[in-house]
């Protein structure tokens, strides 16, 4: 399976990964190689194989529905770059 350079650029943006313009060609080639290997894997017959969600052979333990955390806002906000009225401030996300 081939993957286009613009698709690599789009995925990089969604994943917030910066790829320098002179590296894009190389990254695209390498990812295409990886996808080639995935194609090869997909040729294997997995009809009777249950998909593996986790390599550990164990099941999830659950916790009781109890409030165990207390308010530690002050400690957490002490290391935040900007706060106001108890809110964390971030660069504006809508125009």
């Amino acid at each position: 399976m081939a993957i286009g350079q613009d698709e690599i650029e789009k995925i990089a943006e969604l994943a917030r990964i910066r790829i320098a313009p002179d590296q894009i060609g190389d990254v695209t080639r390498r990812i295409t190689d990886i996808l080639g290997m995935v194609d090869q894997l997909q040729a294997a017959d997995t009809k009777d194989v249950e998909p593996m969600a986790n390599p550990l052979d164990a099941v999830q333990r659950l916790r009781a529905d109890e409030v165990t955390e207390e308010n530690r806002r002050e400690a957490f906000q002490a290391i935040a770059p900007a706060v106001e009225n108890g809110l964390y401030l971030v660069p504006r996300v809508v125009e």
């Binding site: 986790n54 109890e66 409030v67 009225n85 108890g86 809110l87 964390y88």
Partner: protein, 480 residues
Amino acid sequence: MQWETVIGLEVHLQLATRSKIFSGSATTFGAEPNTQASAVDLAMPGMLPVLNAKAVRYAVMFGLGIGADIGRRSVFDRKNYFYPDLPKGYQISQFEAPIVGRGNFEIQLDDGSTRSIGITRAHLEEDAGKSLHEDFHGQTGIDLNRAGTPLLEIVSEPDLRNAAEAVAYLKALHSLVTYLGISDGNMAEGSMRCDINISLRPVGSDTLGTRAEIKNVNSFRFVEKAIRHEFERQVEILEDGGRIVQETRLYDADLDETRPMRSKEVANDYRYFPEPDLLPVVIDEAYIESVRAELPELPVQKRHRFVDQYGLSGYDANVLADSRELADYFEAVVAACGDAKIAANWVQVELLGQLNRGELALGDCPVSATALGGLIGRILDNSISGKIAKQVFEAMWQGEGRADEIIEARGLKQVSDSGELEAMVEQVIAASPGQVEQYLAADEDRRKKLVGFFVGQVMKLSKGQANPQMVNELLAKKLV
């Protein structure tokens, strides 16, 4: 061309747990910003999620409530996207193996007919925080109290055909989840939010048209308006020979319109993959049976029972079974007075009428079910007429006491003393020679109408307290 609307709904239901789905933070609504956001909710390095048992149980309760297959081995996945109110950079959700599989449930439409609506799946996930875009000198304020609140996303099949059906579906869903006690269902506080998928196709066609998705609609009324608006928008495009673009739109309640979200907000590829920090959740038969044993009578079952046991109409049964509290109240009134039909009528008309006028919830109702049953008992034993009973009810509502005390104090007891009534009947007959002549000259059919005049006069004379049945009998005897 005649168009058919095809609607599927995705409902995000906030589960009524005390703590969050993956952390021990509180979920109380309306707390000071970020006071219920722990290191896990803030995605501090090294923090790990631990799944809340109650959230799992609530999801299974819902699954059993709609007769769905329960996922015996359900898996959590990461849904990746960047937004400041999602500190981890991914939402823990379920993709390939949800906890609740296919099911269906019955909705009732306003005309009393019922339809079965398919549920594709329901899965557990965590909510994101809240972004506040105003008043921060060009910056955005983030409150992470809501981050990690457990949600059950309930996805319906595209089985709904118009706005009224969509609203009926949401009301039935609301009724089900509040019966089960798995959510407070408070839409104003965002406990039930809805995404609407809507497409059109020519009537008779069985292929689906291209759909638009309307995000985050949070009241029954807005769902109805958003669908109506979107229907008109799509019809206009299609009839002009255009094509619907698959896109995500927002419903703006102030302008009553839908408009596209900016492409930047939706151009996401969520890159789902299994959440490595959580193991598969395994649910066995014994667990499912223990949940099943705790299920209350569900709205649909109650509705059918009300029809069978009390002889109520489908419509009345639907109104009364809408909430557990109202259904219990109704049944307590029946137990106190012994007549289900009159009880149904009083609860729906007088009680709900008073509650609506006062904008009160049933829990704030000043008249108890036994007190209302006692009042109805006085209609049934002919102590008072239905009309007088409304006055008594009004007084009970104002806190003037129980029915018998008010009837006694105000002297409202129906006059059933035949001597007293006979005197009144004679007085009316003597005062209305013209009407008597007319009555005597009339045929059987016409007499039935004319007698109303005399009944009315006697009622007036008795200030509404004469026993109407006895008045009729006396008039029939005297008017000869």
